[in-house]
Symmetry: C2
Subunit: 391 residues, 2 copies
């Protein structure tokens, strides 16, 4: 082993590379590739949000600030939740983080230590497993049941995976990459399981607005939880307000965890830039129309993918109930990473290989459909043509 690598901590040596990033890095500098590999669309952050950051920069908001987020942002988060859930929320239950990713990292650190296990319904966004492995904890995949490209969680499978080392369940609904959306009954069954086994739930509800059954949001643990349930919610500004690059997210949890979360933030990044936080305030307070626009756009994207795959004999696909990804099986797909590279090089379409999402992703490909109709139609055309003629 390399002299340096051999001297690293055990966890650092074992932390895996992301298969999504591998695809992005392969294709990033290639002209003409339509990038459907990541969980972001093609709209930059809208001007009215950017301008709030610019105003704050002009006002000199460049100093250290509240590590848990400036009070107006925590109040805006409480108001946003009130609008979503129809009841009051305590601003002191919101903790601003440097991305939804950091919200997950801190939640993982809150709930489990080295050698302890977290159940992860899979296929899943690889970064939850990565955050666990990076601190020496153990992500335990629990395979979603799949039929004709449609995924669902059997809560019995979750229970069967519990060991004496299990400390938490990661529940991402609506789910990346599968589009699975837990209904209220399933959430109740998971919560019941967590209560009986004294497990934390890390609820990743970042795609909650992206559902396609006509409702305004997906079912949430917030609809059913009691005040003393062990639940930490992670979320992000990225998807709703086209702010992927900003690295702004939040945790919602009991105010009893305020000091602990403050300390974990203090010793990881010590908070985020005040001038960015003012953009978050504007997004939450004035950006509801934009969220709806983003969801509409994703709905159109979903229809375009449906159309594009209709009659394609190599593809097994079921339109997702939520999130904004098509996750489809390609008959005859052997090496998924290799295939993702070839799709970039030969078809000019950036996809994420199903293997990047762990157990159950073999043979699948993920594309993000939250983008302009023209560009997505072009990408689907290239993809369809390529899958029929090559691979």
């Amino acid at each position: 082993m390399d002299h340096f690598i051999g001297s690293l901590s055990a966890a650092a040596r074992e932390v895996p590379a992301s298969g999504i990033i591998a695809a992005v890095n392969h294709g990033r500098s290639k002209a003409g590739v339509i990038p459907l590999w990541a969980g972001e669309g093609d709209l930059p952050t809208p001007r009215f949000i950017v301008e709030a950051a610019e105003r704050a920069l002009r006002d000199g908001a460049t100093f250290y600030t509240h590590q848990l987020g400036i009070p107006p942002l925590r109040e805006a988060l409480a108001a946003y939740y009130e609008a979503q859930f129809g009841r009051a929320f305590d601003p002191d239950s919101f903790f601003v983080t440097g991305s939804g990713m950091q919200a997950i990292q801190i939640s993982v650190r809150l709930c489990l230590g080295p050698g302890e296990e977290i159940l992860v319904p899979s296929p899943a966004w690889p970064n939850i497993a990565g955050a666990a492995i990076a601190q020496g904890s153990v992500p335990v995949p629990v395979a979603l049941r799949e039929e004709s490209g449609r995924f669902a969680l059997d809560v019995g499978d979750l229970e069967a995976a519990i060991t004496p080392s299990t400390r938490a369940i990661f529940v991402n609904s609506p789910a990346n990459p599968t589009g699975w959306v837990a209904n209220r009954q399933t959430l109740e069954a998971i919560l019941d399981l967590a209560r009986r086994h004294n497990l934390w739930i890390i609820a990743d509800e970042i795609y909650s607005r992206f559902v396609y059954d006509g409702s305004a949001r997906a079912p949430s643990f917030l609809d059913i939880a009691a005040p003393d349930d062990l639940i930490v919610y992670v979320n992000t500004f990225s998807k709703n307000w086209a702010m992927t690059g900003w690295r702004m997210g939040w945790i919602h949890a009991t105010p009893a965890l305020k000091s602990t979360i403050a300390n974990l933030i203090q010793y990881s990044t010590s908070g985020i830039a005040e001038f960015m936080q003012w953009a978050g305030v504007t997004a939450l307070n004035d950006g509801e129309w934009f969220v709806r626009h983003m969801v509409d756009r994703a709905r159109q994207g979903r229809a375009i993918v449906n159309e594009g795959f209709a009659g394609n004999n190599r593809v097994t696909y079921s339109a997702p109930d939520g999130a904004f990804y098509a996750f489809f099986r390609v008959a005859g797909l052997v090496d998924a990473t290799e295939a993702a590279f070839r799709l970039i090089d030969e078809a000019g379409v950036g996809t994420a290989p199903g293997t990047a999402f762990g157990a159950g992703g073999d043979g699948f490909v993920r594309v993000c459909f939250a983008r302009s109709s023209d560009s997505l139609r072009e990408a689907m055309g290239r993809l369809g043509h390529y899958l029929e003629t090559a691979c």
Copy 2:
């Protein structure tokens, strides 16, 4: 124990609060308090740097980007080092982080695991210990020798603290809060020790430009290290370019660690905003005059503190060789945190209690002198008067 706290991971339960933040939180909203508690001055980020971020925002640099930093920023870092050290550096040896704090967190994660020890010459900035404790590792303070308010490291003390669990030495020179600056001979002795015991050095050289002996920078491990030495350098844009609030830093290390560091960044924050990185490019490429201005200002601040404490019988103080803090002993000081709160409430001066800096900080107080002469003179006047008449 609280229902929630009792259910947390062991490390989360044990992560300590920062005594600096306690003082800041106590005084933040109090009108008229002169804030010398934190490591930042009173200048907002200069316009020419801010404008680079604004330009990037207008250009739509709001998407996901390179997790290790955009290539122009890593090239600008290499050029900055070349100017400092008079030789070429590989851009691939620079890794952009979300603050110097995150650079430390990732370095700690690289070098040691749960139960493993890192030696920390103390008094020290508390966040290095915090980062270790938060991941279940053990910070081992090694007391600097103090005489008449002047601190220095005895490398023999460092060696005496090594156990079979020791994996790393944290070397912050110039040092916060003590102002200690390791000379080349001391750095050589530390490096020799690290080599003999196969230990990592985490070199925190963020105050390297803030030295007061007329030289352009402090001695660095980069002056003496061989290519295969186990050294990770952590740094930040905060101090040199008045960018404390931006949360931008970097790691310099062997390119052999590139994948590992990329993965650790991926699973903690996944990088920082591209529009902020362009501000970093401008700071590095066009901001040398501003760094010199900041150092000049700190030099003036240091002189004002010297003047202010001259003839004060309650204060034991030695002007620091580096960094921009006065760390002084106050005779009769019993409860340092309580005293810091009283200084805020009764004297209108925000200080950090010496106890916040761990072993050896008892009886001391830290103030930051990197600020305008007028405001600092006023603060010193208040402080001197208060120490003579009350406490």
